[in-house]
Amino acid sequence: MGGFWDQYRSVVEFAMANALFALGSWIAMWAGVFSMAGATFGAVGGFSAAYLDLHMGAGIVVQLLVGAGLGLGVAALLSVLLLKLESHWMAMATVALVLITRVVVLSAEEYTGGSVGTGVTRRVDLVTVIALVALVCYALARLRRSRYGMAAHAVREDAAVAAALGVNPFTVRAVAFAASGLVAGVAGVVLANLLQYIGPDTFFITLAFTMVAAMVLGGTYHWAGPIVGAIVFVGLPEVVRSYVDGVDELMTGALLVLIMVFMPRGLIDPRRQWFRRRASQPVAQEPAPQPEVVR
């Protein structure tokens, strides 16, 4: 058991780190912003953690706080620039942002180690990572039906209707985007600690694709989706790999296509029948109940 666990411990760790990234993307998606910029905020968190570790020997708490703060700050700044774009252009702009992140990482050699990258002393353990995921989940579960949470969902479903209910869609999106930056910044710190080495390709397109794919795979309509998605997306290939070598990625790709084709709303869909306590009523014609007129 010990050997088995040692073998899969890192799989669980990476799945949890990816769950954090996917949760970050989900928070933006909550308010209808499809963003791949999590890779950028992850880089901000990751490289600041590496810098703090290397130059100041800062502990994990400081790293996480700084990563969260910087992720939040950078996301808040960028939201001003990006959120005015129409949604598809916004999505593409976040791709561009990720491409630029790599260039910035390469040029800011003093802070990032440039193309060689930089080592990080590992200061997180699995318990911390799981605790962070649980913390984010707790917050999201609490906020789901709060004033902000309902506004975010409303903005995603129909921004115009939300506005007519007094919700300022821009503010709601900006807050979601900034919060997604915070979580992705934390995820970057975690990933840097887990990998113990980060370079310009660590926080690049592949990570950006992984986080949105995990999010969509799991389902974008409930916060549990990204976690399930990350576990399936990261864990399944590892498990497959230990039985059949070489086909894990082929399977991941095919699985992603199949799930999107047959379960377009992802694995976790709060609308699905078995998820709800009561069976939904059919759309059949039934007589409308008489209103009680209050005169």
Partner: protein, 378 residues
């Protein structure tokens, strides 16, 4: 009202989290007990960016394990930092593995270094060329640094071929290659060739049309190319195609079997320096070549010799530490090795870094086959 669903899912997630946490606690209590660490772990690179060399490394390593009578435990790392770290953890989690041989690329070696140091398991690096990577007793590099050979060889070429000016090409974002290019630049200049400057490319570049135009515009007698092998071969080919007829001294990575095969005679008349070639004049090299040919029925290459030397070195450390030694003792034994015979000539070690004087000069002939170069008169 928090919806029922949300509450239920939260509960489930928390339960799952708790379950995983308690598992983690259990396993960390297990700890690692490694007495009798006679096995040598090896992180292979049969897949990934260095797959072209991975098989040779492994064959050389397995030959050494057979000759030295040690057990080799192989785990694929694909020269990917994350996968290699996983492989390292898997290897060191196994009973009896007291040291790990790994790493072709400097990036991966850099990622493994802190891990080896913190886990106190010696890491024997067989390929990476970044300066100052070695850090005894836990990070050791028997592999030679190419710049040890580039300096004398480039000076020799300048003198024997009557070179008066040289231009240099490097990959400015790779410390190892920059160090090699710098070695070529200083020694050609010291030997009397005018320095016409250094053209900088990047490791990730694939389009060299601009760089080639820049090189040609300098009109030098000699071009030294210290970039990754693919790039060096591509630049060499493009220079010849655009009519350059001077001397080209390139990174020895242009002469890997797949590159020689696919570039063929477009690499004709290119020089390089190398610690091992099957045609080497060093006696220990001939022995290695013979043993390798007997086992695999093919000629070894440089990578095979690197895998061989690394495992031979690791085995020597293990045997000096004695039976039942733990990883820390093996580390001390490895760091204590001062000399070792090798296909690269007698190796001496300083601070866990191998050095040798016996570099060979190779010239690729008109048919695209590397031949030992014995001098301008030959």
């Amino acid at each position: 009202m928090v919806s029922k669903l949300a509450r239920r899912t939260a509960a489930l997630t928390m339960a799952a989290a708790l379950a995983t946490t308690s598992l983690a606690a259990c396993s960390s209590a297990g700890g690692s007990d490694s007495n009798g660490a006679t096995k040598i772990g090896l992180i292979a690179a049969e897949q990934g960016p260095f797959a072209f060399a991975g098989a040779s490394y492994l064959k050389g390593a397995e030959l050494a394990a057979e000759l030295e009578d040690v057990e080799l435990v192989v785990e694929e790392g694909s020269e990917d930092p994350a996968k290699s770290i996983t492989a390292f953890n898997k290897l060191t989690g196994q009973e009896g593995v007291g040291q790990v041989v790994c790493c072709v690329s400097s990036a991966v070696a850099g990622a493994m270094k802190p891990l080896a140091t913190s886990k106190k398991v010696p890491l024997v690096v067989y390929g990476a060329t970044t300066p100052d990577l070695e850090d005894p007793p836990f990070v050791l590099r028997p592999a030679l640094l190419p710049q040890q050979g580039i300096a004398p060889v480039s000076a020799r070429l300048v003198k024997e071929l009557g070179i008066t000016s040289a231009v240099h090409v490097t990959a400015s974002d790779n410390d190892g290659l920059v160090a090699q290019s710098e070695a070529a630049r200083t020694s050609t200049e010291a030997a009397g060739a005018k320095d016409l400057g250094t053209v900088k490319t990047l490791v990730a570049d694939t389009d060299f049309s601009g760089a080639v135009t820049e090189i040609l515009s300098k009109d030098a007698d000699m071009v030294t190319v210290y970039t990754l092998g693919e790039a060096a071969a591509t630049i060499t080919k493009a220079l010849r195609e655009k009519g350059y007829d001077g001397v080209i001294l390139a990174n020895n990575a242009v002469a890997t079997a797949p590159l020689l095969k696919s570039f063929g005679k477009t690499l004709a008349d290119t020089y390089y320096s190398v610690e091992y070639t099957p045609a080497s004049s060093i006696p220990a090299a001939a022995e290695f070549t013979k043993a390798y040919e007997e086992k695999y029925d093919e000629k070894p290459d440089l990578f095979a010799s690197q895998g061989y030397v690394a495992v031979k070195y690791a085995a020597q450390g293990a045997s000096e530490a004695g039976d039942g030694a733990d990883a820390a003792k093996i580390a001390d034994a490895l760091a204590g090795i001062a000399e070792m015979d090798s296909p690269w000539g007698p190796l001496t070690f300083e601070d866990g870094q191998g050095t040798s004087e016996d570099f060979q000069v190779v010239q690729i002939d008109d048919a695209g086959v590397p031949q030992l170069w014995t001098g301008a008169g030959a």
